[in-house]
C-alpha cells in the first residue's frame, strides 16, 4: 500500500517550508548588506542595492529602484506590495501551516506562530532607529530553530520529505540567483582590496564564510564559485541542495509507489548529474551565467513537475483504487 497523504497537505507543507526559507534568505542578505555599506562609497552602495533587488525580488517583478538603504530595507522587509518581503513570506508560511495544524506537531506550529508574531510586531522606524542586525540575525536564528524542531520531532514520512523539497528547492534557486548577480558584476576581475568585502559578503550571504576558511586560505572568485556551487558538504551550496532535492523526491516516489520514472524525479536526476560531474574550470570557460541559467531552469521545471505529479494531476491519469 502506498502512503496516502492529501495533495493539499503536501502542497501546504512544501510552501510553508519554502516561504520560511525565503524569508530567512532575504534577512541574511539584508544583514550582510547593512554591515558592508557603511564602509563603502555611495556609488558602490547604490550598485549593491541594484544587485540585491535583482537577486531577491520576484523574478517576474518590474525593475524597481530604491535610493536609500532604509527604502531597501522597507521594500524587502515590510512592503506588502512585494511578494518576497519578509513580512509577506512569513505570513504565507504561517497561513500554510495553519491549514494543516493537525498534521504538524504543536511545537512546530508554535514556533512558526512565534516568528509571525515577532515579524508582525516590528516596524521600519523601530528597526532603523535600533539595531537592524539584531532583528535580521534573530530571524535567522528562529528559522533555524524551526528547522531544528522539524528535524528532531518529525517522522521521516512524506510530509517530512515535502518540507525538505521546499527548503532545498528554495535554497538552490536563491543561491544560484545570488551567484549570478555577484559574478556578473565583478567575476571577470581578480579579487582586490576594494572587492574583498563584497566577496566575503557573498560567502556570508550563503552562510559559508567559516566553512570556506577551512578549505581555502585566500579569497578568490573561482574558488568561491566552486565552493558555493559544487561543494557537496556545504548546506547552502547548490550541489548540497540538489542532493537533498533528489533524496526527497526519491523518498516520495517510493512512498507513493509512483516510482522514480515520474517527471520530477527524472529532472532531479538530470540536475544532480549536472552538479555532480561538472568542473569549475569548464563552467567558467563556457560562462557561469549559462550554467546558472540551466540550474535555475531545471529547478523551476522540478517545481512544476512536482505540482503536476502530486498535487494538481489530471484525474483520469490517476485512478488508483
Amino acid at each position: 500500500m502506498p502512503q496516502w497523504m492529501l495533495s493539499r497537505v503536501a502542497d501546504s507543507l512544501y510552501w510553508m517550508s519554502r516561504y520560511l526559507v525565503r524569508a530567512d534568505h532575504v534577512a541574511r542578505q539584508l544583514d550582510v548588506h547593512l554591515s558592508i555599506v557603511p564602509e563603502q562609497g555611495s556609488a558602490a552602495a547604490s550598485g549593491r542595492r541594484v544587485r540585491l533587488l535583482a537577486a531577491l525580488l520576484p523574478e517576474e517583478a518590474q525593475c524597481t529602484e530604491v535610493s536609500t538603504d532604509e527604502a531597501l530595507a522597507d521594500l524587502l522587509t515590510f512592503s506588502l506590495d512585494n511578494d518576497n518581503s519578509i513580512v509577506r513570506c512569513v505570513a504565507a508560511a504561517r497561513e500554510n501551516a495553519r491549514q494543516i495544524r493537525e498534521q504538524i506537531n504543536s511545537q512546530l506550529w508554535e514556533q512558526i506562530n512565534q516568528i509571525h508574531l515577532t515579524v508582525r510586531a516590528a516596524s521600519l522606524a523601530q528597526l532603523w532607529e535600533g539595531q537592524p542586525h539584531l532583528f535580521y540575525h534573530g530571524l535567522n536564528q528562529e528559522v533555524y530553530r524551526f528547522l531544528g524542531i522539524a528535524d528532531a520531532r518529525m517522522s521521516r514520512d512524506q510530509g517530512w520529505h515535502f518540507i525538505q523539497l521546499g527548503c532545498h528547492l528554495e535554497r538552490a534557486t536563491a543561491t544560484a540567483r545570488l551567484l549570478d548577480e555577484e559574478f556578473r558584476a565583478r567575476g571577470k576581475s581578480p579579487a582586490d582590496q576594494s572587492s574583498y568585502l563584497e566577496w566575503v559578503g557573498l560567502l556570508r550571504g550563503c552562510a559559508a564564510l567559516e566553512a570556506y576558511g577551512k578549505v581555502y586560505t585566500e579569497v578568490e572568485p573561482r574558488h568561491i564559485a566552486d565552493f558555493l556551487l559544487l561543494n557537496p558538504e556545504l548546506p547552502h551550496s547548490v550541489h548540497f541542495a540538489v542532493d537533498s532535492i533528489q533524496r526527497a523526491l526519491n523518498a516520495i516516489a517510493v512512498a507513493t509507489h509512483l516510482g522514480t520514472e515520474v517527471r520530477a524525479s527524472r529532472l532531479a536526476g538530470r540536475l544532480h548529474a549536472l552538479l555532480a560531474y561538472a568542473q569549475i574550470d569548464e563552467i567558467m570557460e563556457t560562462g557561469l551565467d549559462i550554467f546558472l541559467r540551466e540550474v535555475r531552469q531545471l529547478c523551476a521545471q522540478i517545481h512544476e513537475a512536482v505540482y503536476l505529479s502530486f498535487v494538481a494531476y489530471p484525474v483520469e491519469s490517476r485512478l488508483v483504487g
Binding site: P2, W4, L6, E102, I252, L258, V315, V320
Partner: protein
C-alpha cells in the same frame, strides 16, 4: 440555601458557600434539608479543605491549559470576528450511577425510535398514513429532503452521532429539551474537560470512581466503520470539514487527529463514475465513509445549495447509489425539527409500543390556531424558538425579554407560524460553580452523546453546559455559556 450548621465548616472557609443559593430550581448539590446529596458529599467536603487561593490556582492552571492547546471556538455575529476560549468551570457535575442508568435507557429508546421514524418517512411513511404525525408538519420542515425518498442507508442507520440536550426539571426528573441529529458538536470539549480535570483534581477524581469516556473517538471510529458500504474492513474514513474558518474547526482537527483519519475539505474530494475519491500525492484514493461536519445544504452544489463551495459536486448521487456513506445521513434534521419534537412521545409509542422513559418539555405549536393564540397572549412567560435553528439563535426568553423583542416575535410568529414553537420557561437545575473565589449556583443542562453504528451506545457523561451569567438560562457557548466536566459514578 446554606449548609446545615451541624456540618459547620472551618471558620477560614466559611465564606466559600455563602453566595450559594438556589431558588425555584432543582439543586444538584444540596438536598432540600441543606445537606449535600450523597454523590456530592466528598466534593463538598474537599472544597472546604482547600483555601480559595488554592482553588484559584487550580482554575488558572486549567484556563492556561486550554489557552495553550488553542481550544477555542469562533463567534459568528461578533464583529471582533474572534476565537474565544470556551470557559471552563472547575467543579465537576456529578451524576449518581442509577440516575445515569435511567438516562441511558431513555436515550437509547428515544434515538432508536427517531431512527425508525427517519427510515419510515423516507420510505413507506406509515406513520403519516396512520395520522400519528401530521404529514404537513413533516413535508413543510425545511430539513425534510425529498431527494432521500427510497434511499437505503447501511443498517438503516441515519444518525451515527447524536447529541441530545437534557435538562433537569424542578422536581428532579430529567427531560429532553431538544435532539441534535444533524451535526452535533461539543464532544471535543467533553474530552478535553476530562483531560484537564484529571490534571487539576487527580486525587478527588480517583477516590470518586468515575466512568471513563476517553474511548469516545475509538467508539466513533468503530461506529463509522460499521457503516461502510459492504462493511469493508479496510474502509477509508474521512472527516469532512468546511475548513479553518468554521466555528468548530478545533473540534474537527481534534477528532481527526485522535481517530487517525484524514481531515478533508470539499476541494480534496471528487466524484468519478459515481464513486468518491480523495486527491492524494499517490493518486486518487477511494473514500468509503464521510463523517461530515457540514450541513445538508452545503454537501453537493448540484443537488442542494448551488452557491456552496464547501461541498463536492456529484457527492449526493454517489451517496444515493450506495458507494459511499455519509454520517449522519442526509435529511436527518426533519426529526430534530422543534415542531416534530412535540410528537416524539407518540413516535416512540408507535414504533416501539413503549411509554417514553424520558419526558418531553411541554410544547405549543404556533402552527395550531388555538395554541398560537395562547402563545401570543403569554409571550412574557414562554420561551419561543424557531424550529429549524440551533445554537441559541432565533430564540426569545419571555421573562427576560424587552417589550420590543416581544413585539418583534409577535410579528415573526404571525408571518410564519409553522416556524415557531413555544415552551414554558423552565428553571434549569443548578450546579455549584467556582466563580470569583466563591462557590455559586448556576443553571446547567446536559448533552450526552449517542453513537449509532449497528446499534446505539452512549458515552457515560457528556457535556454539561453552564449559563455563567447569574440568573441566565442560556447555556450556548455563542451566548456566554461555559462548560464543566461531568462525572458519572461507577457505583
Amino acid at each position: 440555601m446554606t449548609p446545615d450548621s451541624s456540618a459547620a465548616p472551618p471558620a477560614s472557609s466559611s465564606s466559600l458557600y455563602e453566595a450559594y443559593r438556589v431558588e425555584g430550581a432543582y439543586d444538584e448539590m444540596l438536598a432540600p434539608n441543606g445537606e449535600p446529596r450523597p454523590q456530592y458529599q466528598q466534593l463538598y467536603q474537599t472544597l472546604l479543605e482547600l483555601t480559595p487561593e488554592e482553588l484559584q490556582r487550580r482554575q488558572q492552571a486549567a484556563d492556561l491549559s486550554f489557552l495553550h492547546q488553542g481550544i477555542t471556538f469562533t463567534v459568528y455575529s461578533d464583529t471582533q470576528g474572534t476565537e474565544r476560549i470556551f470557559p471552563y468551570d472547575l467543579l465537576p457535575r456529578i451524576i449518581a450511577s442509577q440516575e445515569w442508568d435511567a438516562i441511558e435507557r431513555g436515550l437509547i429508546q428515544r434515538i432508536t425510535a427517531l431512527n425508525l421514524f427517519l427510515h419510515d418517512i423516507y420510505h413507506g411513511a406509515r406513520i403519516l398514513a396512520d395520522k400519528v404525525v401530521p404529514f404537513d408538519l413533516v413535508y413543510s420542515s425545511k430539513h425534510y429532503r425529498r431527494e432521500m425518498r427510497g434511499v437505503d442507508v447501511p443498517h438503516g442507520t441515519y444518525i451515527a452521532v447524536v447529541g441530545t440536550d437534557l435538562i433537569r426539571l424542578p422536581d428532579g426528573r430529567f427531560a429532553v429539551l431538544e435532539d441534535n441529529l444533524r451535526v452535533p458538536s461539543g464532544a471535543s470539549y467533553m474530552l478535553t474537560n476530562r483531560q484537564v480535570m484529571k490534571r487539576v483534581f487527580p486525587r478527588l477524581f480517583t477516590h470518586y470512581g468515575v466512568r471513563p469516556l476517553e474511548y469516545y473517538t475509538q467508539a466513533l471510529l468503530t461506529a463509522l466503520c460499521d457503516l461502510a458500504p459492504g462493511s469493508r474492513a479496510d474502509a477509508n474514513i474521512v472527516l469532512l470539514s468546511p475548513g479553518v474558518y468554521n466555528s468548530a474547526y478545533f473540534e474537527h482537527t481534534f477528532l481527526a487527529r485522535l481517530m487517525g483519519i484524514p481531515l478533508v475539505e470539499g476541494r480534496d474530494l471528487l466524484v468519478h463514475d459515481n464513486a468518491v475519491y480523495m486527491r492524494t500525492t499517490a493518486g486518487l484514493r477511494r473514500v468509503d465513509v464521510i463523517y461530515r461536519r457540514i450541513d445538508d445544504d452545503f454537501v453537493d452544489p448540484l443537488v442542494f445549495r448551488k452557491d456552496s463551495t464547501l461541498g463536492v459536486p456529484g457527492l449526493f448521487n454517489a451517496y444515493r447509489s450506495g458507494t459511499v456513506t455519509l454520517a449522519n445521513a442526509i435529511g436527518t434534521g426533519v426529526a430534530d425539527d422543534k415542531a416534530i419534537y412535540a410528537y416524539v412521545p407518540q413516535i416512540i409509542a408507535y414504533y416501539l409500543k413503549e411509554d417514553p422513559l424520558l419526558p418531553n418539555v411541554e410544547t405549543y405549536q404556533c402552527a395550531d390556531g388555538a395554541e398560537r393564540a395562547y402563545v401570543l397572549e403569554h409571550l412574557q412567560d414562554l420561551v419561543v424558538k424557531a424550529v429549524g435553528e440551533s445554537g441559541g439563535y432565533g430564540m426569545l426568553i419571555g421573562p427576560h425579554s424587552t417589550a420590543e423583542a416581544r413585539a418583534e416575535f409577535v410579528r415573526l410568529i404571525q408571518a410564519n407560524p409553522r416556524n415557531y414553537i413555544a415552551q414554558p420557561t423552565i428553571n434549569l437545575s443548578c450546579c455549584p460553580c467556582f466563580l470569583d473565589g466563591r462557590v455559586e449556583a448556576r443553571h446547567v443542562d446536559l448533552r450526552p452523546y449517542i453513537l449509532y453504528g449497528r446499534q446505539a451506545s452512549i458515552l457515560p457523561g457528556g457535556l454539561t453546559r453552564v449559563a455563567l451569567r447569574r440568573g441566565s438560562l442560556v447555556v450556548n457557548s455563542s451566548q456566554g455559556g461555559g462548560s464543566k466536566d461531568t462525572w458519572v459514578l461507577t457505583a
